[in-house]
């Protein structure tokens, strides 16, 4: 039983926090967002220089062989600074598919370029009617003499506007919602028949709706088993959920900090508004919500190494439920306690609120995950 970080982990945390402190205040973030594609290539290179893009990959792959705790540390720090660069899309999701399911050739082709920052990825999964069901896939992949032909539409693909390579779920067999018959494919963003419509998202990130029209890929484009790729998808998406829980804790932490700061400095009726008990107690409740969320983000991080896939999934869902509950309360109350200032585009707190709100509905909202825990027989069974 030990909740402390190891010496190396503490150093990692200090180095990420140090980098972001030096180069990622809220004004700087605005400038990064104004760059082409909506995020900063130079900041991305700095993350690469510090080795952060190579964390989860093995040493043979050119990475550091770091585990879920290291990802938690980085995601929490990225959340604190409200970083818009595509770490989740590229390292956690894209990198996750490659290191968990990729062939030796695929790893060699993509992982070094992730680690050195030269390429980014995007996971094209959501469809018009799939909502949170990862196995609901209408996009088709038909076997050809030389490989596969992909047809279909994907929506709200995070970093889809900028990614060099797309990782696409497509059906190789069976009906739209069958568990079997889901394949995972590597598709170059500039492949013939790929049409990308990019846009900014509510939280200042960038995504895209992507249409695949008779897109031809080789036989070597498949990650894992083309007839049964869903377990891989579920595992990697759970990785992303775990990472999102940590990111949200960083954002909640910062939202609470900013709120407390505001309560101390804003005066009305001749006193700091933080002297009013009704506001104090609201802030205390925010603190409770953040600590409960932090505990569950740790739980999810530890669950990452569970051998039993069902137990892992249940733990991740339980964490996402707690994070969803906490982030809604913390985000909304942060705005409330900042008053009119919280409503302005100019001030940072609203941007934390917006990112938290988007996290809630990314890869399953609170109701979805509560259902997932319930269907698995509850947490203590």
């Amino acid at each position: 039983m030990d909740f402390d970080l190891s010496e190396e982990q503490r150093l990692l945390k200090d180095s990420v926090d140090g980098l972001l402190k030096a180069s990622y205040d809220f004004d700087q973030r605005k400038k990064y967002r104004a760059e082409r594609g909506g995020w900063s290539k130079s900041l991305w290179n700095k993350l690469a220089e510090q080795g952060l893009l190579g964390l989860p990959f093995t040493e043979e792959e050119g990475g550091f062989g770091a585990g879920a705790v290291e990802t938690m540390i980085v995601m929490e720090s990225l959340g604190k600074a409200l970083v818009v660069e595509p770490y989740l899309a590229t390292v956690v999701l894209g990198g996750g598919f490659l290191r968990r399911g990729g062939s030796a050739a695929q790893k060699e082709a993509y992982i070094p370029a992730i680690i050195d920052g030269s390429k980014t990825l995007a996971f094209a999964q959501l469809e018009k009617n799939s909502r949170y069901d990862l196995g609901d896939v209408a996009t088709s992949a038909k076997k050809t003499a030389n490989g596969w032909t992909i047809d279909g539409e994907k929506f709200v693909v995070l970093n889809g506007e900028n990614a060099d390579t797309l990782i696409v779920t497509a059906r190789t067999a069976g009906g739209q919602r069958d568990r079997n018959g889901v394949g995972v494919f590597l598709v170059p963003a500039n492949a013939k028949g790929v049409s990308i419509k990019g846009y900014p998202t509510q939280d200042g990130l960038h995504a895209a709706d992507i249409t695949f029209t008779s897109v031809e890929v080789g036989a070597d484009a498949v990650i894992g088993d083309p007839a049964n790729g869903l377990p891989l998808v579920e595992t990697v998406v759970d990785d992303a959920r775990i990472a999102l829980c940590a990111e949200a804790v960083g954002e909640m932490d910062e939202s609470l900090k900013s709120t407390v700061e505001y309560l101390k400095t804003r005066t009305q009726f001749g006193v700091a508004i933080g002297t009013f008990q009704v506001l104090q107690h609201r802030a205390a409740d925010m603190f409770v919500a953040v600590e409960q969320a932090r505990s569950m983000a740790m739980f999810a991080t530890m669950a990452s190494d569970f051998d039993d896939a069902a137990e892992r999934a249940k733990a991740v869902s339980a964490a996402k439920v707690q994070i969803g509950k906490s982030l809604k309360f913390v985000g909304e109350q942060a705005i409330q306690l900042h008053g009119g200032v919280g409503m302005t585009q100019e001030y940072k707190i609203g941007h934390y609120f917006k990112r938290l709100t988007m996290i809630e509905s990314t890869f399953g909202d609170t109701d979805y995950h509560l259902r997932r825990v319930t269907d698995a027989g509850g947490l203590n069974s």
Partner: protein
């Protein structure tokens, strides 16, 4: 970072669990599970079994009978005990006055009182709250005046839990009426058999008798029953209240109650199938389980921190334990009520004194729900806990 118990800790848990399984009297377990009150004899009998095993005063220093366990071991012990369920050692003696005596008392007091606390030869109660002093405890008025080698005590204490069973009461008394609020208070031990003490029951909304009023009318107490220095009682009281921080979440109690919820939900039918199959019910239960898991981990963070850095600097997360712990306990009693629905209504006027053999299996569920409203009030109400977070953590 490793959230699993070590091999040694797992072995310890198994040992504790096995001992409880073999030694908690079945009727005690049964009554606790049904939310009924235990008699004094039932409680004391169990505590003596624990003490004979050497587990009566586990967290005391070894020289006074403690175990020298780590904070994780204490945590495991408490949780296993709550899950039996069986009553924890009497807090007023073991967790409250005992530590005050071995930390601030003189040698004679240590010799006289500590062994009798451990063996429950003395049943202790707590004389802190007064009719006019609840959350604002330091405003207390009960007076102790020095007269030769005696204190003369006059005043009234209230909400005194189990005073009807008590041999001794530890009291905060005002000994310097001219001093500022907190600085004129002393910590005095009083034999409940002393003439001038009257105990009157307060019946709570569940029909139970747990708490009392205790009146002091010219009660003469030997001067030597003062603990520590005169007028320093407030410091000892603060020490006492800060001492038992991690048990307050009562995670094991909620786990045990969830077990009971599941058991009853499998029995009670609605629409021709067990309530346990109802989607709405299942989601409510899963939500409680998730919040309880979060609380358990928050508690373990505090425990691990104490183990590493000592109790000196409380982990800020510890303030969460009382608030969330009480909310979850209340949520479980609410859900039990929902499970049995209309069958919560029948009231047994005999209460649970054992005189009514035909008492329905549902009879204690509503009283237990009513009774559990207390958990967000006692031990520093949840509003006081929020004040603590505000000042100590947020710095507002």
């Amino acid at each position: 970072m490793d959230l699993n118990f070590s091999k040694e800790e797992v072995a310890f848990r198994d040992e504790v669990r096995a001992f409880f399984k073999d030694h908690v009297p079945p009727s005690t377990r049964q009554k606790m599970a049904e939310g009924r009150h235990l008699s004094k004899d039932e409680m004391v009998a169990w505590w003596r079994i624990l003490n004979d095993k050497g587990w009566g005063v586990t967290h005391w220093p070894k020289e006074y009978g403690g175990t020298g366990w780590t904070s994780v071991q204490h945590y495991i012990f408490n949780e296993e005990l709550q899950m039996v369920p069986a009553p924890a050692p009497l807090a007023f003696g073991v967790s409250m006055v005992g530590p005050v005596i071995y930390t601030f008392g003189n040698e004679a007091q240590k010799k006289r009182f500590l062994p009798r606390i451990a063996s429950v030869e003395d049943f202790w109660c707590q004389g802190f709250s007064e009719p006019g002093s609840g959350s604002d405890l330091a405003s207390l008025k009960t007076k102790a005046e020095r007269k030769g080698d005696k204190w003369i005590i006059n005043g009234q204490k209230t909400w005194t839990t189990l005073a009807q069973y008590a041999d001794w009461i530890f009291c905060l008394c005002r000994t310097d009426p001219t001093a500022k609020k907190q600085s004129g208070i002393s910590f005095i031990l009083v034999d409940m058999k002393t003439p001038g003490i009257t105990v009157r029951p307060i019946v709570t909304i569940d029909g139970g008798r747990e708490v009392n009023e205790v009146f002091f009318d010219d009660v003469e107490v030997p001067y030597e029953n003062l603990v520590g220095e005169e007028n320093k009682g407030w410091d000892y009281a603060k020490f006492l209240l800060g001492n038992e921080r991690t048990g307050i979440a009562r995670v094991g109690v909620s786990k045990e109650r969830i077990r009971r919820i599941k058991e009853l939900a499998a029995k009670v039918e609605s629409n021709g199938k067990p309530v346990a199959d109802d989607q709405k019910f299942r989601e409510k239960l899963a939500m409680i389980e998730i919040e309880l898991k979060a609380l358990e981990l928050t508690q373990l963070r505090v425990v691990a921190d104490e183990g590493k850095h000592g109790k000196g600097k409380p982990n800020p997360a510890s303030s969460v334990l009382k608030i969330k712990g009480s909310e979850i306990q209340q949520a479980t009693t609410e859900l039990l009520m929902e499970v049995i629905g209309p069958f919560a209504a029948p009231y047994d006027e005999h209460g649970d004194d054992g005189s009514n053999e035909a008492m329905e299996w549902t009879a204690q569920i509503a009283p237990s729900y009513f009774n559990n409203r207390k958990v967000s009030i006692y031990g520093g109400s949840n509003e006081i806990q929020r004040n603590i977070i505000t000042k100590a953590v947020l710095g507002l």
